[in-house]
C-alpha cells in the first residue's frame, strides 16, 4: 500500500490507477491533537485499519496523483537518523564501523517542492539519494529476528548536503540541516510491498542527466542490522525516519534552476527543484573528486576514535 499526504493536510492511499483516495475521515476517530498526528496514527493503527484502507483504495473516486498536490508524507518526522557512508562503493574492503548523525526534521520538503540554497559559503551543495525506513512502532533493543517488525515502510530521501562549512577538523553535519534540505516522498510504500529492500535500484537524474545509479544490495549494513543497532542506542518511535546512507559514486552539485528526480525501484519517483537567490554556479555533472575521495577513505583501515574531540 502507498500512503500519501496531500492537499490541506489530507491523508490518502495511492490506488493502482495512480489516484489518491482520501481516507482522512478514518483517522478522525483517533482525535489527533494536530495534523502532524494523522499519519503517525495511521502507522500505529495500520494493522486494524488495513482492510478498510484497502477497500477504500479499491473503491476508487480518487484524485490523479499529478493533480493531488502531494506533500511530504510525514509533515514532521519525530527524528531523522542518517547513516554515515554505508555503501561499499565498488570496493571489496571490510565494512566500516557504523555511525550516524541526526538531521533537523524542520528541513522536510515533499514531492515537487523547492530546495532553497542558503547564503552560507559552502564549497558545494550535493544531492544524496537514499532509501529511508519509516519506523512503525516504538522500539528499543530490537533483536535481528524482530527488527523488521518495527518497519512500517520505505520511501525516497534526498539528503541535501552543504559541504565545507563549520569548524575545521571536525564534521558536524550541520550543513545537512538547513531548512528544505530533507527531501522526502512522494509517498510511503508499506513493508509488505518491498519483500527485499536490499535489492533495489536507485537513480538520480539532474535536468535529465544521470548522476547516481546504484543498488541497495551494496549496503554495508542492511536495514535489519541498522534497526537492531540503532534501537540499542535510542528509542525508535512511529514516525521516526532512518536514512540508510548514500553511495557517493555519482554525487554532483545542485544549483539554481535544477530539477532533481530521484527514483527507487518499487517505490516511485520523487522530484525536487532548486533555487539559489545568489545564482552561484558549480561544475555540472558528477563530482568525481568526491567519488574518488570517499573510495580512498573507505579503503584505508578504520581510524577509530583515537583522540575523541571535544564537544
Amino acid at each position: 500500500m502507498r500512503v500519501a499526504t496531500f492537499g490541506d493536510s489530507r491523508i490518502g492511499i495511492v490506488a493502482a490507477d495512480e489516484t489518491v483516495v482520501d481516507v482522512t475521515d478514518l483517522l478522525e476517530q483517533f482525535d489527533p491533537p494536530g495534523p502532524e498526528h494523522l499519519l503517525p496514527d495511521l502507522i500505529i493503527n495500520f494493522d486494524t485499519l488495513r482492510d478498510e484502507l484497502t477497500e477504500r483504495a479499491t473503491a476508487g473516486g480518487g484524485t490523479p496523483t499529478a493533480e493531488a498536490q502531494l506533500h511530504s508524507p510525514l509533515i514532521r518526522p519525530t527524528k531523522i537518523i542518517c547513516l554515515i557512508g554505508n555503501y561499499r562503493e565498488g570496493t571489496d574492503r571490510p565494512i566500516q564501523i557504523l555511525d550516524v548523525f541526526f538531521k533537523s526534521p524542520e528541513g522536510i520538503v515533499g514531492h515537487n517542492d523547492t530546495v532553497v540554497l542558503p547564503r552560507h559559503q559552502a564549497s558545494i551543495f550535493h544531492h544524496e539519494a537514499e532509501i529511508a525506513v519509516v519506523v512503525g512502532k516504538e522500539a528499543k533493543d530490537l533483536t535481528p529476528e524482530s527488527a523488521m517488525d518495527a518497519v512500517f515502510g520505505y520511501t525516497i530521501f534526498e539528503d541535501i548536503s552543504a559541504r565545507g562549512t563549520g569548524r575545521p577538523g571536525i564534521v558536524s553535519f550541520l550543513g545537512k540541516s538547513h531548512d528544505t534540505f530533507a527531501g522526502f516522498g512522494p509517498w510511503i510504500v508499506t513493508r509488505d510491498e518491498i519483500p527485499d529492500p536490499q535489492a533495489l535500484h536507485i537513480t538520480v537524474d539532474v535536468n535529465g542527466e544521470r548522476r547516481q545509479d546504484y543498488s541497495t544490495a551494496d549496503m554495508e549494513r542492511p536495514i535489519r542490522e541498522l534497526m537492531t543497532y540503532l534501537s540499542s542506542i535510542t528509542t525508535l518511535n512511529p514516525g521516526d525516519v532512518i536514512c540508510c546512507g548514500t553511495n557517493h559514486q555519482g554525487l554532483g552539485a545542485v544549483q539554481d534552476g535544477d530539477e532533481v528526480i530521484t527514483s527507487i525501484e518499487g517505490i516511485g519517483s520523487f522530484t525536487l527543484h532548486v533555487r539559489d537567490e545568489m545564482e552561484r554556479a558549480w561544475q555540472r555533472g558528477i563530482d568525481t573528486e568526491m567519488a574518488e575521495r570517499v573510495k580512498a577513505m573507505a579503503q584505508q583501515p578504520d581510524q577509530q576514535a583515537n583522540g575523541e574531540q571535544a564537544s
Binding site: 554515515i84 533537523s104 524542520e106 564534521v171 540541516s177 540499542s232 542506542i233 578504520d302
Partner: protein
Amino acid sequence: MRLVLTGDDRIAVLKDNGIVDVSSAFADLKYRTAADRMPRVLAALRDRRKQVEELAASSSVEPLGALQAPVPRPPKLLAAFGNYREGTDRERQEQDMFLESPDSVTGPDSTVVLPNHPASIFHHEAELALVIGKRAKDLPADASALEALAGYTCAIDVSGRGIGRMPPSRMGKSFDTFTPLGPAIVTPDEVPDPQNLRVTLSVNGEARQEYTTADMEYSVVEILAFLSGYMTLVPGDVILCGTNHQGLGALQHGDEVRMEIEGVGVLCVNVDDPLRREWPRGVDQEMADRVRNAAG
C-alpha cells in the same frame, strides 16, 4: 517564573516553598503525551503569562514532589561543540553545532543508565540549556534574539566516548537517559545576564566542574543567531550551550551527580551500570589538557 512538569503530568510553577498547579491555564490544549504537550504549552505561555502568574499567586502551594524533565521530548535537541575558552586566551574557534537524539532526555532525580556499548569512558558535561518558546528563523545576534526563548534550564550532556567512527560521537551522546534536563524552565526575566552564571557539578560530593558562562566563546544570542541561520527553531527545542572540559570525569555505577547553575536551578541524577564497569575517579586530567591544547 519557574515552570515545571510534575511526575503526574501537571504543569506547575515552582516557588521557594513548593509548587502551584497552573494546568488549568492550558486545559484547552490538545495533546497525547507530555512529550507533545510541553511544546504546545511553551508556545502558548507568552500570551498566557499573566493568567499563569495570577494562578500562581492565588492558588494553594503544595509540597514539591517528583518532576519530569520540563520538556520530556524536545522536537530537536541541539548542542554546541567546545564553546568555552577553558582558561586560555586564544582566539575563539569556528562556531559549530550538531543534533542529538531528543529521546535521550530524562528528568530530575532519575537514573542515567550506561548502555552495553564499549565506550572508552562515559563523561558528564554540565551545560546551560536554552528552551525555545516560539518559532524562529534568522534571528539577529543581539538581545532581541532572547525573545525566542521560553527560558533556561540545567542539562548534563552525558557522553560515551569512542562510539562510532567519526568523532566526536553523536551516538555516544544519544543513548536513552543521556540528557538529564531540568528541574524548571526559568523565564528570561529571572536571568538578567546569561553570560554571568556559575556552573558547578559534583559527583558523590566531590567537586568536578566549576566554571562561568562568562567564559563562553559564542554567547547565547550568538548561538541562537547561528542555529536559526540554518534551521527553523520551534517551541520546545532545547539547545545545549557547550561545556568547559576542565573538570570532566567518569560517570559510573552508583554515582550521585549534582549540578547547579546559579539562579537557574539544581539538577540531581544517579548512575546505573548493569555491567559494573570501573574508571578512575576524579577529574579526567588527560581530557582537560587535550582540549586546552587543542584550543590553544
